[in-house]
Amino acid sequence: MTPFSMLNQQPQDEIPASPYDCWVTPDGDETAQFYRTATGYCVRFPDQADFLIDVDSLSVQCIPADGMAQDDALILYYNSIQPMLGNYRGQLHMHASAVRCGTGAIGFLGLSRRGKTTLAGAFASAGHPFLTEDVLSITISEDGYLVQPSRPVLRLFSDSAALLAPHEPEAESGKKISFSAQTSLPHWSRPCPLTALFLLGPGESEITSIERLQPADALTQLMRHSFILDVEDRPRLKAHFDRIAALARATSCFALDYPRRYGELHKVIETVSTMVTGEQID
């Protein structure tokens, strides 16, 4: 368990150093910047929050930026900092949602706004409970890889929310709102064997396509969806590469793309679930 504390809001002063790493969206926006400090690291989410990490204790101090609600800063902690620290400790966390399908769990990996949460919600509403909406935590058991459930919450943009949780209060446009699991959006609260991983494409395709990835391709793609705290920490990066390579060897991985239209989701669900349950039978 990581010691965590939250301070009051503060203006985000300029940090007098260059970041050693950044997370950049395909549009070129920096969503996170990584700095070294005297005692460890500062992970800055511009205009949102700073997270100061003590490298010895791995304790975390969160300083929300002016105007940032503590609850929103806490989501950054759960969905970015905690998995990053988990990987730093030698665990396996990736940026993905996951649902129960057949007798196992399948994960959907993708960049932000690629539709991970919406897809998990759509699967859930079709009777495949979701395990996690944003962070895929995988453990290793005697029987193979297990997907661990996370909080029974889905955070959806207003348009997805209108489809998947029509009776809930309307979300503000452009902002995600949290929905607790419910009868129509069930959550699976027990560890579940990992069956397959799907890497979400950009949605430019007019048809639903599923293509099996060779393990070598899967390895490089899975690495891109990992949470890495220190890309210059060679021993930890090497160890994480080993863990992902083992995962890529042992797990069926597919490239999944589909038109990002809500009307298409039922076809995606049917195609994926038929394929996954068929593979289980085979």
Partner: protein, 97 residues
């Protein structure tokens, strides 16, 4: 200018390079740049040999000749080309000539 290597030139894997075999392909990760490279079966065999201490181009050619059915001159041409490529990308380091 690209250096032309001799069969007796010896190489070592770069210190910042990690390799793992997955599904018959060997993936190299350059930890310094975060760049990935894929090696086919022959390339993967060469990498294993480099890691095992067979460091000269000539020794690498011997390994390929023992494992794969091909003529020596073709093997030497292909191994030199691969070594050249790996060296240009700093994935292997020239130890001695």
């Amino acid at each position: 200018m690209t250096k032309v290597f001799d069969l007796q030139d010896r190489f070592a894997p770069g210190a910042d390079v990690v390799a793992r075999e997955v599904g018959g392909e060997t993936i190299l990760l350059d930890l310094g740049t975060g760049t990935y490279f894929g090696l086919n079966e022959v390339g993967g065999k060469l990498w294993q040999s480099l890691e095992a201490g067979q460091r000269s181009i000539s020794e690498l050619c011997d390994t390929v000749e023992q494992t794969f059915d091909a003529k020596r001159d073709i093997i030497e041409r292909d191994v030199v080309a691969l070594v050249q490529d790996l060296a240009n990308r700093n994935l292997i380091i020239l130890e001695s000539t």
